[in-house]
Structure formats: C-alpha cells, structure tokens
Amino acid sequence: MIQLLANWILSFDVLSGIGFSVAWGLSLFIVAALIFAFVAVNAIVLVYIERKVSAFMQVRLGPMRVGKFGTLQTVADALKLLQKEDIIPLLADKVLFVVGPWVILIASVATFAAIPFSDTLLAADMNVGLFYIVSISSIVVLGIVMAGWASNNKWSLYGAMRSAAQMISYEIPVGITLIAVVAVVGSLNLQAIIQEQAGTGNLFHWIPIPLPNWFIFHSPFLFIAAFVYLIGATAEINRTPFDIPESESELVAGFMTEFSGLRWALFFLSEYANATLVALLVSIVFLGGWQSPFADYEGAQIGFSVITLVAIMWTLFVRAKTGRLSVYPLGLSLILTMAVWLFPGFAIWMASPGIFWMLIKAGSIIFMLMWFRWTFPRLRVDQLMYVSWKVILPLSLINLMGVAVWMWLTGEIQF
C-alpha cells in the first residue's frame, strides 16, 4: 500500500521532483496517520456501540441525549476528556507516569500496520506478520506495569501486578493456538493465511456441507482453537470476565486509578484498539479475513437464500417456544436476499472480497466480546491462572497435535 501511495504521489506533476525516498517517507507518514485516525474513530464508535449494547442487554436505553439516539455522546465525552485537568500525583514517578500510557497506545496502534483490511489495503505486507503482531502487542504489558508502578498507588500496583501475570500467562496458549494455524498454512504472512482460506469446501473436509474454506471449518481442532484463541485473547486484552487488572469493584480502577484527562483517554483508546485487533486477528486467522463467504455471484444468491430459510425457521421456532415474534432477523435477511436476486450488481459486490467483509466479521467478534462482558462475573486471580495453565494451554497443545494428525489423515501433508 505504501508502494502504491508513493507511486501515486509521484504521479502528480508538482510532486514528481521530490524523489522516491521522500515520497516513500511521506506515504509512510500518511499511512501512520490514517491508522491512528482509524484507531481513534474506531474507539469512539465502539464506545458508543458498547454503551448501547450493554444498555439493551440491561433493559436500558443507554445514551439518548447528545445527538439523535445519543450518537454524539462519545464525541462529547472525548472532548470533555481532552479539556480535563492533567493531574500527576505529587509522589508519582513523573517520567514513567507520562510515558506509560503512550507506550501502551503505541504498542497497540503499531500492530495495525500488519493487518490486511482487504487484498490491497494494508500498510506493511510482512512475511512475519503474525509474529510481528503477537510480539508487538505484548509490549502493552510493559506500559501497564510502568503506569501502575509510577502511580505510587497501592491499587495501581495491584492492577499492574495482576496485569503482568495475566498477560504473560495468556501469551503462551494464544501463541500456540496461532502456531496451529501457521502449521496448516506454512507461512506467517497474513495475506498468505487469508489466501489459503479462499474457495468453498466441505465442513471438516469430509462432512458434505458446503462451507467456505475458512480455518474454523478446517478441522474440529481448529474449530476449538478458534474459541480457545478468543478466550485467551479476551484475557490478553483485559476484558471481562478476565478484567482483573482494572476490576472496578476490587481495585477501584486498577492501573488506571491515578490517571485522568488525556492520559486516561489513551488507556481507553488502546483498550478498544486492542479489542479491535483481536477481533480482526480472529477473522483473519479463522474466518477468512477479507474473503467473502460467497465465493462467486451464484454463491451469494444461494447463500442468502439459505440464510433466509434459516431465519424463517428460527423465527417460527422462537414463536412456538416463547410466543414472541422477532421480525428483525427475518426482515433483514429477506431484504438482502431480494436485493441479491434482483440486482446482480449487488450480488457481485457481495461476492467480491473487501474491507466490508473484514469489518463485518471483526464487528461480530467485537459484539461477542461485549456480550461476554455484560453477562459474566469476573474470575479471581488464581482462577484466571487455573484457566490459563490447566485448561487453555493443554487444549491448545492438543489442538496443535490434533491439527497435525488431521492434516496427515486428510492427506494435506505426507511423510
């Protein structure tokens, strides 16, 4: 993308004289700014969505005052945060206190460099993309420990301690789970991983249900691995039920206790950036990335018809069981199906790969994270470790071996 951008810049007559290296640097800067803008806007949108989702799950309405249906609420909140007084506690370690939030933010924003949003839309096409993301995102823990230690507050210290222990423990199962996928693809390049998932095939290779070739449908082991990764990643980004570093009913606000204003906003930004990253990674690694689930034009038509049928059956089932009539899923799928059948252009667009599918997939994963958050209680520290070392880690190791055996069985690899 940077190459394209640099060439595009040089294609202007006025700018053609600046030389390729300057254009390259300029496009680097533009891409970085774009990523940062994406992260910031993303956080504002996600906070709004999260508030609405939590409100609907809790029989509330959520923000309703600023803008229509409260859509501008988070913008107003962000503006308020920027105006707030910047407080540095008297006895805090000033340097670390100032640097900590930025380390966290930079670590979480930097990971986006390797994320392919579509077949062309990616900042850096690295051949070690997955490794890069895993390693950069673990720098976050450094920032959290810095912030917690520098605050000179007992609650912050507890939060930082818990965070360090938790994130380091969960790196391992998360990493091993990803290795299982890498074993299938044979590459750490994210584009290669996505390309590997193109086309349609059977569920679990043998069961004759035609499904996209996504890795989640590759084998039972990778199916489990997807959920193992989701759980591990939830823990890694400190979201409920694993939000013990900032558990507000125990540690007040954990490592964020002493932060206010802009610095606190940075924590918030990075929290949602991390959530987005995890969602994007799940969709890249297990859900085919920017690949459309409907491989071609007919696929879209047939696929949407099947979805409509499922929606009708689901509606009837719910109607029979609870007596309530929920028309939204049915109506939506009907409209989409009609659109796909009546407008071939729409069907072609739906079948084509792109950022649309990427964001749809990532969005549903983020919704899942929110759903977890507003349903579950919080685990205790030792229980968290139990889940990590005694449940998730063995499971991911079994998955790794299982995937290898599975590939041998299906003939993908030979000895």
């Binding site: 989702v53 799950m57 349903t375």
Partner: protein, 315 residues
C-alpha cells in the same frame, strides 16, 4: 473426570447466562428507562382524605401552606422532628377582623412570618396531620430546585449552610408591617415589664433590695422571650407536654407573647409579597396557593407524554 465435567458445566452455564442477555438485547422495547425531563414517572393521584384539598395526594414532596387558612396555632411547628417550620405570630386586637378560614374558624392570631426550610425538611408528613385547618400539606411538586425563591434575611449563624434560597416564606404580611408589629410587641412587653416592675417595687417596699432584684430578673426574662420570637431562625423551645396529634383546635396550646397591638396599626396592608421581599428580582415566586396551582398544571402535559413513551425509542 471432574476436570472435564467442570469444563462442560462451565460452558453450559455460561451459555445459559448469555441466552438471558441476548434475549433482552433482541427485545430493546422492553426497556425500563424513563427519559426524565420528557417523560416523568406517573404520579399516583389519590386524595387520601386530608380535608378537601385536591392536590394533597400520596406523593410527599414540597411542603406548602395555604396561608389564608392558617390560624397560627403552631401545631405543625411542634410536630416537626427537624424543626424546619418556623412561625411567628402576634395576637390580633379585640376589634380587629383578620378573616376566617374555609372551615369558618375565626383567625385570632396574625401570622407575620411562616417559613419552611425545605433544605431541612425530611418529608416525613408528620406536620400535616395535626393541622386543624388542613392548610399545611405536601404537594406532588418534586421539581422545585431553583435559584429564584424568596431570599430571607438569614442570620449569620445560619449563613454557613448557604441554603437560604430553600427557605420558603408563606406569610403575606409585608416586612414593614412585620417590623411594626415586632416593635409594638416589644413596646407592649417592655411596658408590661415596667408596670410589673413598678408594681413589684411598690408591693415590696419593705424588702427593697431583694424585691428589686427579682423584678429586674423578671423583666429580663420578658425581654428574652420577646427577642426569641423576633428572631426568625431560632424557634421557640420545644414544648414537650404537647398533645400528640391534636385534631381539634381546643387542644392547641397557643404560646405567644401576651401582647396587644395598638389599634391604629391594625388595618390590613394589601401589598403583594413580591414587591417588598426582594426588590432585586421583580418577578418573584408567587405565594403558596398559586405555587400549588402551578405545580398541578405543569404536571398534566408531562403525564400525557408518558403515555406516548413507547414511540420515542429506537428499534
């Protein structure tokens, strides 16, 4: 084995819980939020039988006095556990007609000051029951926070609380008249004290020194009672022997200085309260009964908006 059953148990129970939240998520119309200024909680309206006052219903909020009906018996002041009601009365002259209440009770005391400190009121409703004329009552007006209420002269002792805008004055007697009556009462009290002193001095000429001292003491005591009744922020000491819930006026113990104002100060001065109490703000808080009506009318449109509250949400 319990290891695996634990895990499967965890998965099933967690999914169970997720079903509940998802159930509510797809049914956002079952929400319970009231968007406060647009929709208000429907107030149960019911007259629970304190007199004929329509607005007195079950909701216990702002305390209001129908001043025309107040006879100055101070039953509410004594019933208040937190001493937030403060009444100052002066006895009317013998040929003076202040008027009658709606129960046709002749008003014998001129209430020069009737204040309720709503910042201290704890809405316990104990003051409304002893009132023989049913003139003090609680209205459903719970939205009475404002900055433009009657500002009273607050003594420095009370100033530290900075809540003077929550002290409501219900008396329609002007401050000028009030000051006049106070002065008269003081004059009468002083005259009486002097008379008493003279009388005592005359009676006890034999034991001169001792008797004189006594007379002075009595005079001083008289002074202090007069001073107490003039000080608005310092109510009279609680009379512990009062009846619990007096419902007829005969039971009421009227504790006012034994003073008779001069006949020439008697005529009723019909000056609206707002012109005098606070010259700074010309458009002033109307007096009790009007406040009451306003509260009622302001609630009606809100009620109608509550009925439509299903339409305002998003899908």
């Amino acid at each position: 084995m319990s290891y695996f059953s634990n895990i499967s148990n965890a998965i099933t129970t967690l999914v169970d819980g997720m079903k509940v939240t998802m159930g509510y998520f797809v049914r956002p119309r079952e929400h319970v939020t009231l968007q406060y200024p647009d929709e208000v909680w429907p107030i149960p309206t019911r007259n629970i039988g304190v007199g004929e006052i329509e607005s007195y219903n079950t909701i216990r909020s702002k305390l209001v006095v129908d001043f025309e009906d107040c006879i100055g018996c101070k039953a509410c002041e004594r019933a208040c556990p937190v001493d937030c009601i403060d009444i100052e009365t002066f006895k009317a002259g013998p040929d003076e007609d202040i008027g009658t209440t709606k129960n046709d009770t002749k008003i014998k005391l001129r209430v020069t000051s009737f204040t309720i400190d709503m910042s201290e009121c704890m809405f316990c409703d104990l003051c409304t029951h002893p009132c023989p004329e049913d003139c003090i009552h609680m209205t459903p007006d719970y939205q009475f926070i404002s900055n433009d209420n009657v500002k009273l002269e607050v003594t420095p002792e009370e100033r530290w609380r900075d809540r003077d805008h929550l002290i409501y004055q219900f008396s329609k007697v002007t401050p000028i008249e009030r000051a006049q009556r106070k002065a008269e009462a003081e004059k009468v009290a002083a005259a009486k004290a002097a008379a008493m002193e003279a009388k005592k001095a005359a009676a006890a000429k034999a034991a001169a020194a001792k008797a004189e001292q006594e007379a002075q003491e009595a005079a001083r005591a008289q002074d202090t009672t007069a001073a107490q009744s003039e000080n608005g922020a310092d109510p009279a000491p609680r009379i512990t022997e009062t009846p619990v819930m007096p419902s007829d006026p005969a039971l009421i113990n009227i504790s006012t200085p034994e003073s008779t104002p001069e006949p020439e100060a008697v005529e009723r001065i019909e000056v609206p309260l707002e012109n005098i109490t606070s010259p700074v703000i010309p458009e002033e808080q109307p007096a009790s009964s009007e406040v009451n009506e306003e509260a009622e009318t302001s609630i009606e449109p809100e009620d109608s908006s509550t009925e439509e509250r299903g339409e305002t949400e998003n899908g």
